[in-house]
Symmetry: C5
Subunit: 297 residues, 5 copies
């Protein structure tokens, strides 16, 4: 997640480099073509690029909204994970006959492990990294054989909740209520996987870039009487507004890619860890994740 | 679902062929009409096509949003199917007295069959194809008499859950919780059928095409002083931005048509199969569905 | 619901007749006023109609979205009715001790009657027509005294479910789960009534027509130098884009009016009947409702 | 709620009076300033008011959408109240051991009183007016001491439901299901209060008016060569499109203000009363609320 | 929350000061550059700033919608807190065997404390300030050790509900229903924290400001023939429409910052306190929070 501190210009311009170069080449090409065939190429009416600018704005507006919605939904999903993780521990303490039952702590630790593991799975990192702080080695070995580690962690929790019932530490009625919390966690996991695995319709991006280049070409033809030294910066600056917005939308739409604009899943998992440890009355708490310059992951 | 790999130009242009031809014919017709009646046809004010361009952008923006919403809702529905399939098996293992009860596996296999069958039903393919891997021949025969196969599969599962109760393997309380999962699966099925069976208001598409052709005609009249060799490509390229966006929206709005832009229901059903088999501790897992060039189904 | 088959031009133009006539009259009036007072009326700047066109597009975009939402919500409500009707019968078969209990069939038939009756009530038709296939004469007489027939049908079902409990065919726990399904059906009924009974803010439509006529007047003044034979068709064609879109939105916003663009509630009720009869193992099934030319009701 | 019958012009123009006067004064002022300083004031480029018109359209579109959403949400809340009132009585009849228990009628009458009282509270009217038809004098006295009457009515119902349990007319399980209905009613009440009590960000309205006046000023400068007799009506008519839309949105956003555009809460409460009385088998039913000319409250 | 009373101009202009100064400097710079290099700088075509104006409007429209959604969601979350606080006390009175049980009052007071504490936590104020009116000193000491005070208050309530069960004042069935209310409160808390802690994508704001300045620069070049005394006010007034809208959106998107445009969490918490005290039959009620001039917090 980008934070409010000053964003380095380098971060912004890195996104723009290639496109700016193409724009300059287009501007130069159009200029020399116009100069060479000056009598044979008619004047481009200025309302052509203007109309294209409107069409591009509409397209961008559509894409910005949908990309933002994906990003915001991803954040909502992780907000729901925070809420359900807290509720899960509150429910365990409230539902299990003896609050001091060590199983409460075991289940809570597995929940912390689940949060970290889900975040790393989504980002394509090692889903078991760092889990040795929460899980015994035997469970880590068991998880290693599973393709979907977070799902396997939830299965372990479901099995241990069943064990609580066998030992009559939990009744059927509250079992079902705990199960409802697990169902919500499975849902959040699936929603995050859906956002991560569903490619935003790629043709929109292709047509958008096509339209922006068309805009640049028609604009440079219609500005062909203006000296190159004024025309080129104008072309680059005007088209860069479009390119920058498109890039921002493009990054928002996939919020689990290890990029500065990602949903800060590690920081959220850490917050959950701190909250759950305090609910368990632990006093040795980890530090919140600190921002990495202008962003936090 | 289109994936990030390079989309073949052929795929894009195939969509455009017919419309481009019509545009060229319109351009030629307008050109020769203008040339012939040159003194009798007044100059088309250039703000007429410009205003039409704006109106078309607004229409397109509306259609793109609603089509995207249908496509995204279809994906959400299948995401919910993933979640509820996983929860269903976790609940069975947790709720049935003996986890080793063979009925758990029977119910889980029927759930996998349901996912494949629903996907094929939505796409208009044979809804029973490949189900022999999950269901005994007798059940397949029973299903053959049903008009709505996925609904009949859920009914079989509901009956077997009732049998679990008769044998006192499940209590009333957990029965209701399992039933809530079945209700959600029936809902997801119905939602997918709704998206599949509801025709997007067709008049919008008709009026949109009408407006685009009107745009081309007025634009070609207003450009009639420009040589044909510049005018025709400009007409085609400008109108193709509109046509391509409309086609993309048109394909998105019906995501179960066996097209490259479909929701990838087979791949999702396979993911569910792999997940459920692992939850059942099976080790002989099928491979995930591989992309078919630039898309995955 | 309009279907994909070719929509007759007659259907489209019938919507347009009156407005086209008014447009032509305005065009003629403006033309002769301009011709008569030619020296006294200044030239209308062409950006006045252009700016009005933009404002109208924005208005239309707003109205199209909200009308579409009403139409889509109506379809979603009927989708929920499909889902809950199916779930209702699955639950009855699963919850009632003896699946062969004749009350299951009675309740399922009343549910089919409810679907037909609700559809006809919404469309302002006779809500009891055709219900003799599902309900005994005594119940039809009882319903005749009720103002809200579908609500009375649900009350009958609720009473019979209570009778099941008296005869200990159903326990309290599953009673509540069945009740939850009835609550959802009551909700769907109320939502459809809300869409049907809530008038879309009428002033928007008035102001929209006002703006379109203003657009035509200013446009015809600004085109007053163009010969009438070119100006009139242009005026009609341009304004008809707006009128057609407005009419489409206007029809979508009230989807229970016995119009071709209606939500196809009869066809949906028939689908429910077929599904429920098959769940009851009946083999004598009715045919699905067939399209009526270019639409299905 | 405005209904489909012809809206009196008086109702529309009353909204416009003041703004039209200001527009005329601005037009006159600009005209005489331009005439006096004719050589010193440069021509206003016509794209300045055009660009402002676009910006205003965008602003208006935003405001119309959000205002409509508030209005539609208010209607949805009252739709939910209809549904939950019906479900509440159906549940009471189904859950209470003896359907003839007089407490069912008492609770249903209190629910009717709650609907009327909530509607009047939202509109700032006397929340107890007319409740003597549903509640005994002693309860009305008790309510008089409460600041939030509808909340106090729900508390009375919750207490009487508890009394049903004490007399073993209701079991714990169904108690919880009835409580869920009360929770939903408390939610609907709170949602209506939220819409009623949350001021739409006022600065948007201020800036919108500011932009419309700026539009009028720049437009009248750019039209300064046109005779006053044509310019003034044009200014008034063009700006009135904006003002009328803004006023409509402004009225929609606060749907409980005793205005013709209000949500028709009295009519809805009457519908609920009729429905509930019929569910109680009463035959002496009140008449539905009749429209008051062009609207219904 | 800003209220309807007249907003001081000072509040509006304070937002504008810096940007207006920059605009004036840009205007002056462009003017003198144009005057100096008059023959070498070509005329800026007026459709460049016009096209930028459209692009900015689209951007603003996107940002205004998303910011409004955050603000409205924040208000909805606090509305849900109102509803669940009321339901919580109604449920306690209804579920606990003896309504006179002093634990009901203890739990209700902790709920009031939770509301105040959550509001203050969100605004970055002392989360324990004023809680001595609701909580004993020992609990305040316990809370002081917790990082997330509201979460710790809910844990205290969950523990006391468990104590009610130990003393058989509450049964398992109603326990679960009360737990569902706690789960919703945990959700509301998490949602408010999410809105508060998620930075709106900062790059949009940067690019928006970039585009507005670009608009001003190109506009001032295209107006360079107009005398400075007319050009500068026009530049400031036109760009201020954009800046004011952006500032309003910027403030709405973070509704817990102790600003006049904040969600009025203190006033809402007071309303809850008054409601809950009346439900407990207390007569010594606090006053509602009064507006602070043109806003209420």
């Amino acid at each position: 997640m980008l934070i409010h501190s000053r964003i380095p210009l380098r971060y912004v311009f890195k996104k723009l480099k290639e496109d700016a170069l193409v724009i300059i080449l287009i501007g130069l090409a159009v200029h020399y073509i116009s100069a060479y065939y000056i009598n044979r190429i008619p004047q481009m009416p200025s309302n052509i690029p203007a109309f294209l600018g409107t069409a591009i704005s509409v397209l961008l507006s559509f894409k910005m909204s949908q990309s933002y919605d994906r990003w915001w939904e991803a954040r909502k999903v992780w907000g729901a994970i925070v809420n359900d993780s807290r509720s899960f521990v509150l429910q365990l303490q409230s539902f299990v006959k003896e609050s001091t039952n060590p199983m409460v702590k075991t289940l809570a630790y597995r929940q912390m492990a689940w949060c970290y593991s889900l975040g790393q799975t989504l980002r394509g990192l090692d889903p078991l990294e760092g889990l040795e702080a929460f899980l015994p080695a035997s469970e880590l070995q068991h998880l290693a054989t599973h393709k979907n580690k977070p799902l396997a962690i939830i299965q372990l929790n479901a099995q241990d909740i069943k064990n609580l019932i066998r030992r009559e530490e939990l009744d059927a009625y509250r079992h079902v209520q705990l199960d409802a919390t697990l169902v919500r966690l499975v849902e959040s996991m699936g929603k995050a996987e859906r956002i991560n695995g569903t490619v935003f319709p790629v043709t929109y991006r292709v047509f958008l870039h096509f339209a922006i280049y068309l805009f640049v070409i028609t604009l440079s033809f219609s500005l062909s009487e203006i000296p190159l030294i004024f025309e080129l910066p104008l072309l680059v600056v005007l088209s860069s507004v479009f390119f920058l917005l498109e890039k921002t939308a493009y990054h928002l739409q996939d919020p689990f890619r290890n990029r500065p604009s990602d949903t800060s899943v590690t920081a959220i998992a850490r917050t959950i860890e701190i909250n759950l440890r305090q609910l368990l009355n632990e006093t040795d708490l980890p530090q919140p994740v600190q921002p990495n310059g202008f962003y936090i992951l």
